[in-house]
């Protein structure tokens, strides 16, 4: 009686963990020759541990990546920076944009913008919320506002 061993296609399916026809599955379970062949192929296709990096190398690479990682901060500073800049520019330019607001001739827009840049460069957050600055700006606004309505 001739023994029908597993075909190449059946071996491939079994190597990939897929199902084969019932007779082939039964043969794979009972035939010592095919079981050994399948096991040898599985072993040959598995990754040999010797090619894996040492624990020290793994840790070194992991640590290097983590050291270079800029973890997200709870407060995202760029947002505050932009908010502060927007508030400051709006407060300073508002008088100039009002009808007649720029007609006083005593406010130099370029000088104001230069001042804004300098303040932001020094400390944007405190510049935006400086009580002295706000007070001064409010006074400036009053003067210009009054001039435009009179």
């Amino acid at each position: 009686m001739k023994i029908e061993h597993l075909t190449g296609d059946e071996l491939d399916l079994l190597l990939l963990g897929e199902e084969v026809a019932a007779p082939a599955a039964e043969h794979a379970r009972t035939c010592l020759v095919c079981r050994r062949r399948l096991e040898e192929l599985r072993r040959a296709m598995s990754h040999p541990g010797r090619l894996d990096p040492s624990p020290a190398a793994r840790q070194r690479v992991r640590d290097a990546a983590l050291a270079a990682w800029r973890a997200p901060q709870p407060l995202r500073r760029p947002v505050w920076r932009w908010a502060a800049a927007a508030a400051l520019v709006a407060a300073l330019l508002l008088p100039l944009l009002r009808p007649g607001g720029g007609g006083g001739g005593d406010v130099d827009a370029a000088a104001v913008l230069a001042e804004v840049d300098a303040l932001l460069a020094a400390d944007p957050v405190s510049a935006a919320f400086s009580s002295e600055l706000v007070t001064a700006l409010a006074a400036e606004h009053e003067v210009n506002g009054a001039g435009s309505t009179s």
């Binding site: 071996l11 990939l16 990754h47 040999p48 010797r50 990096p53 690479v61 290097a64 990682w69 973890a71």
Partner: protein
């Protein structure tokens, strides 16, 4: 079996999802744990998909750095290991394109040189002949994998070396599961036939 990897998980586990959330909040310990869990897959993918002679260690580090920078984009719909492996695959593809090494140089099959990474030793067996045959078969597998067309090689490496399942491989390669099966079947047939020529 020692080669079973955590990246075989089909979806992200609660524990892993919590780690991802903590890492997104800046928790370095959580990020380290995530990397440690899946790093072996990334190492193996880089080792087998990079152009010959490329720096595997640098590739793994770059993969980790890209993953950490993109943590906010991880949706959680697939396994974290699969997502991380996809980043590694993309990095290796970039390297292949840049060095313009279209044909993969086959690795040496024979030889007992200590510096030869393919001088691998299967588990010791009582039968020296079988040990030698196992070593030869393993070396032939690695040599043939290096010669496979790129998509087949990627599918084979992700399945057999990185331990990903079909869905994970499909996600990592950006193709559907049917395509993965096709690539895998072709790759396995070719590798098996090559091994059986030498070790019938």
């Amino acid at each position: 079996m020692a080669s079973v990897l955590r990246s075989e998980l089909p979806v992200v586990s609660d524990d892993e999802f919590e780690l991802v959330e903590r890492a997104r909040g800046g928790d370095r310990d959580a990020a380290a744990t995530l990397l440690e869990r899946h790093e072996l897959s990334v190492w193996r993918v880089c080792r087998h998909l990079l152009p010959p002679g490329d720096d595997v260690e640098a590739a793994v580090q770059e993969t980790f750095m890209r993953a950490l920078a993109k943590l906010g984009r991880y949706s959680g719909s697939g396994s974290f290991g699969g997502w991380l492996t996809a980043i590694a695959v993309n990095y290796c593809r970039d390297r292949l394109r840049r060095v313009r090494l279209v044909p993969f140089r086959p690795l040496e099959v024979d030889g007992e040189d200590e510096n030869n990474p393919l001088a691998v030793l299967p588990a010791p067996e009582a039968d020296p002949e079988r040990t030698a045959m196992g070593r030869q078969a393993m070396a032939r597998v690695h040599a043939e994998v290096a010669r496979l067309p790129q998509r087949q090689r990627e599918a084979f490496v992700l399945r057999f070396f990185a331990g990903l399942k079909l869905a994970g491989i499909a996600a990592a390669l950006g193709v559907d599961v049917g395509s993965v099966k096709t690539h895998l079947h072709r790759a396995v047939r070719r590798v098996r036939e090559h091994v059986q020529e030498a070790v019938p």
